[in-house]
Symmetry: C2
């Protein structure tokens, strides 16, 4: 597979790394970047991530056979609206959004129907850094990419997006939209909410400077994800608010139950929870 013209809408860590990986695999002829910040786009040209750029989304997608949308979830709908009427007839559109139901809804509303050449996707990769300077060609190596095709999705478009990610060294799987959103709410969105929220609660306590002074290594690891982009996470939480809201409520109830177990001094019950958790974590990580 060779992409003739790849349009990257949003040239940051995610979009930039895809362009670099495809270039490295010799799987793309031309890369057009699109974004709002001129310095970032000029940097992207300078680094060889893209060949040229435009600030106009309609212009960027013109003549492209593959369009990758890597804008914040809150900007998806307006991005799709700007694309409408400017895509080549066979152009394939895919994205990197961390929630999928909202993206499917946004493109459907923007286009007036769900385009069959749209393949919703989510690369499970990233770092806390952002911008094209953070991009690197091996970001997706051995990382999971979840595609969430719908019944109406064109199988050829899906196969090409599959192939594109495999060329980046990624491990591609398919999942239903709703299932993706639940799995991600559990493993990513809820933990981020907990980390942000815990740091915020502690920061508002009296003598919080002292509190943070005694925060040891484990706490640093635990709250590292609270260093991620607040704007990106606001968008993700809002986009996946249904799945995430339910889990937050469920988890709050679980904590209330835990505080009752504590008050009762029920050590056996605590031990049972802790042992189950340790065993479960051991099954999936070091």
């Amino acid at each position: 597979m060779k992409i003739q013209r790849l349009a990257i809408i949003g040239v940051g860590l995610i979009g930039g790394s895809l362009a670099q990986a495809l270039r490295k695999a010799d799987a793309v002829v031309e890369v057009v970047g699109c974004g709002r910040g001129k310095p970032n786009l000029e940097k992207a040209v300078e680094l060889g991530v893209i060949d040229r750029y435009t600030h106009d989304i309609g212009e960027a997608v013109g003549g492209a056979d593959m369009v990758f949308v890597a804008v914040p979830l809150g900007a998806m709908k307006s991005t799709f609206q700007a694309m409408r009427g400017n895509l080549s007839p066979n152009a394939i559109v895919t994205d990197g959004g961390s929630a999928k139901a909202s993206v499917v809804r946004d493109i459907t509303e923007a286009f007036g129907e769900l385009p069959s050449n749209f393949v919703p996707g989510h690369p499970i990769a990233g770092t806390e850094r952002s911008g094209v300077e953070a991009a690197f060609p091996t970001l997706y190596q051995n990382r999971r990419i979840i595609l969430t095709p719908l019944n109406s999705t064109n199988p050829d478009a899906l196969a090409k997006v599959d192939a594109m990610w495999q060329l980046c060294g990624a491990d591609v799987t398919h999942m239903e939209v709703e299932h993706h959103d639940e799995v991600l709410a559990a493993t990513s969105h809820l933990p981020h909410m907990l980390a942000f929220s815990l740091v915020d609660v502690l920061a508002q306590m009296k003598e919080n400077d002292e509190i943070f002074r005694y925060a040891a290594g484990g706490f640093r690891d635990f709250t590292r994800i609270a260093s991620s982009s607040p704007v990106m996470w606001r968008d993700i939480c809002l986009a996946n608010r249904e799945a995430l809201g339910g889990m937050l409520e469920q988890f709050a109830a679980e904590l209330t139950r835990l505080s009752e177990i504590l008050r009762e001094g029920d050590g056996d019950h605590l031990l049972e929870i802790f042992e189950r958790a340790k065993a479960a974590r051991h099954r999936f990580a070091d």
Copy 2:
């Protein structure tokens, strides 16, 4: 300062590392280990961490001028009971328990009064590993040690425990018992509860294998502390249940409030929380 005979009750990571650090500083003549597991104690002799061992606490503390108690919080009271009547008149006793009010209560009950030569302490150091084989002499280098002396604490005993930890390269501070327990509930006990609880909740979801399969790097960091010893954490949570229970309830209420903010789609409010948290974390960590 030179300790003539150091008794280490509980020869694991914490107790073993203290013995190694003091030996390295040439600050101790003889180290007597005490514990229940024979293989661990034999290993400790083999590794040169202790000179000899006994399973009898009364015998271990006999003739010691410094006693360091590094047993699980749940074993503190019986350990102190076994010491009573066997200590040398000027022996100093200190400990490494992660909650301090409960240890002060335990020794007071065991001795019938609070001994003035007891200096409650808590080294903020450790790894997820345990046992004497995990011990190393630089564990306390540049780490914080909190001592929580009481009004009745003998100033000479406090000065000696201060000096002991400084010889290990640690940064020693003093704090009130209740304040220590609140700071630690916030920065350590609550995060551990959240990590154990989150992993447990996810492990009980349908298709939990799939959920964990898509858990990326951030989730691993976030839940690493759920690999810690379940028994140790049961003891810590029970020992500090007052401070911890209040914080759990407060945090559960905060999560419920967050789920309402989500339901209302109040992005500005979310952004405010996330930005405050990111800024607060930036103040204390990388």
